[in-house]
Amino acid sequence: MDIVVCIKRVPDVAEADVEIERSGLRIDDSDLSWGMNEWDTFAVEEALRLEAEHGGTVTALTVGGEDDEEVLRRALAMGADTAIRLADDAFEGSDPLAVATVLAAAIRKRPYDLVLTGAVSGDTGSAQLGGMLAALLGAGQVALATRTAFANGKLEVQHEVEGGLERVVELDLPAVVTVQTGINEPRYVSIRGIRKVASVEIPVEGAGDLGLDVAAVGAAGAREALSELFLPPTGEGAEILEGGPDEVAEKLVERLRERGGI
């Protein structure tokens, strides 16, 4: 089975004091650590698991700049066979549909049975790329996969529906599946593992290589644009208890007592 995995590099903001740049269009990311989007680590692992079981190839793709090469290298260190960076000045300012268009063009160029993406990007939180990609490729799709199994030319996918329920569906291939966290245990990559692939040449493909009409991608074709980033209004936020651990614990006990928690 030939599998393509789409991955993205995102900053980790979980414990950071996020500041917005004066332009209002970017966060100040100079002090943030970056890495592979959490969901994508599960997608790569799932691709490698299917490859180990059924043979074939795993190709990692990202649409991004030079700095984003780092996540492709991580995918290679995890065990992906090939990594390609999709980049072109013409891609600047692409909206989500344009990113999907670029990926679709790259995927169409090669034989593939299955495309895996993360369920959602931790930065933009859109959760839309996989579905768009499937429609562009004319392939079937299913979102939020928690298990995959391949047999008799069909892919069985368990995925999250509503109300804590999951459903198993059978997909004809080729198909696009978006991967949820927890589907597997992404393998650990050691510094040594990263070093081993440090000198691998990672090819770059641009609009010309992909046969893309530059009017369809980039800022020119974008129907969606960011007008402003801002910090969420903190109006009705929590009453913050001040003091050392014992002091706040004391105050908390009081509040809990008032509210019937004790």
Binding site: R223, P232, G237
Partner: protein
């Protein structure tokens, strides 16, 4: 764009079912759509399912038009089949705006459908307004795990535009007492249901604890760092006479069973008191907390979104605060 200005727009809402009834979001979409459509616009609903005549009538007490796709292929939700079935409707009716809910089902259906319908998609909106004198839509959405908000502008294509709305973010419109809307039966094409077939539905595993019944929940998140550290929240829960719950990463790592996960892909809980320990407060987690409990957040990041919804917060290291709290509670209880 002749037919698709935002002045008096025609809006199509793809509504969701929940069990045998309609999901709450069906009325939230109506509320949002009515506000955008104004007096001169119109608001329709697309309903897919098997044997959904009653539900169509219910929708027609609020929506102007209800397009019903009644077919065995829609008995269970299938984002792929929905997208294929609805594309011809959108093409025929030419709505200026298509709305759906940003639920698991919306995530499965909306992106592919937007491409089929030839419209740009604004996902997971907290607000949505007409902008640029009716030539664009403006939405606010969350980015960076809810720590930052983004105002987005979307220019419709010839075919219009689409947005998915976060559940609970828009005020629901109440249906009227009478059926005032028109109900239309829709044909379903042969291509619908190809490529993807339902096999079975998987119910959550039964478990000995039922966190949905607990009055006090101590919920633990990724901030706990390691399985061994769970002990401190377990003994806090014990001191409070409550149960331990958790966020999704704790289940993903296999530290606690899925039956303790709170959120949109876990359980919905209605405790009196909810302590969130080392949980950032993503909408998927907070979406599972109902009944407005007294919400306490313990987190070392003062800007964690959980503080925006908590009643009381402690900005501090959980490894200091949790044991201190447990000691004070045991003291207080004597």
């Amino acid at each position: 764009m002749s037919t698709n200005t935002n002045q008096n727009p025609k809006i199509l809402c793809v509504v969701e079912r929940a069990g045998a009834g309609l999901d709450d979001t069906a009325w939230e979409l109506l509320g949002a759509a009515r506000a955008l459509a104004g007096e001169g616009g119109s608001v329709g609903a697309a309903l897919l399912g098997e044997g959904v005549g009653e539900l169509a009538n219910e929708l027609a007490r609020g929506y102007d038009d209800v397009w019903v796709f009644d077919d065995a292929r829609f008995a269970s939700w299938d984002g792929e089949a929905y997208a294929r079935a609805l594309a011809p409707l959108a093409q025929r009716e030419q709505p200026a705006l298509i709305l759906a809910a940003h639920t698991n089902l919306g995530i499965d259906f909306a992106p592919g459908f937007s491409v089929r319908a030839g419209v740009p998609l604004l996902p997971d909106c907290l607000s949505l307004e007409s902008a640029g004198d009716g030539s664009a839509w403006e939405a606010v959405r969350t980015v960076y795990g809810g720590k930052v908000h983004a105002r987005m502008t979307c220019t419709p294509s010839e075919q219009g535009a689409m947005a998915t709305l976060r559940a609970g973010a828009f005020a629901a419109a109440e249906p009227g007492a009478e059926v005032t809307g028109r109900v239309h039966a829709e044909d379903v094409g042969d291509d619908v249901g190809q490529g993807r077939r339902p096999v079975r539905t998987v119910e959550p595993e039964a478990s000995e604890v039922d966190i949905t019944q607990a009055a006090v929940l101590v919920a633990v998140g990724r901030g706990i760092e390691d399985e061994e550290n769970l002990e401190i929240v377990q003994s806090l829960a014990e001191a409070l006479g409550g149960e331990v719950a958790c966020s999704r990463p704790v289940v993903d790592k296999g530290w606690l069973p899925k039956s303790r996960q709170v959120g949109t892909s876990g359980l919905t809980v209605k405790p009196k008191v909810y302590l969130a320990v080392g949980i950032s407060g993503s909408f998927q987690h907070v979406g599972g907390i109902k009944g407005s409990p007294f919400l306490v957040a313990i987190n070392k990041d003062a800007r964690a979104p959980i503080f925006g919804v908590a009643d009381v917060g402690v900005v501090g290291d959980l490894f200091d605060v949790v044991p201190a709290l447990e000691a004070k509670i045991r003291e207080a209880k004597g």
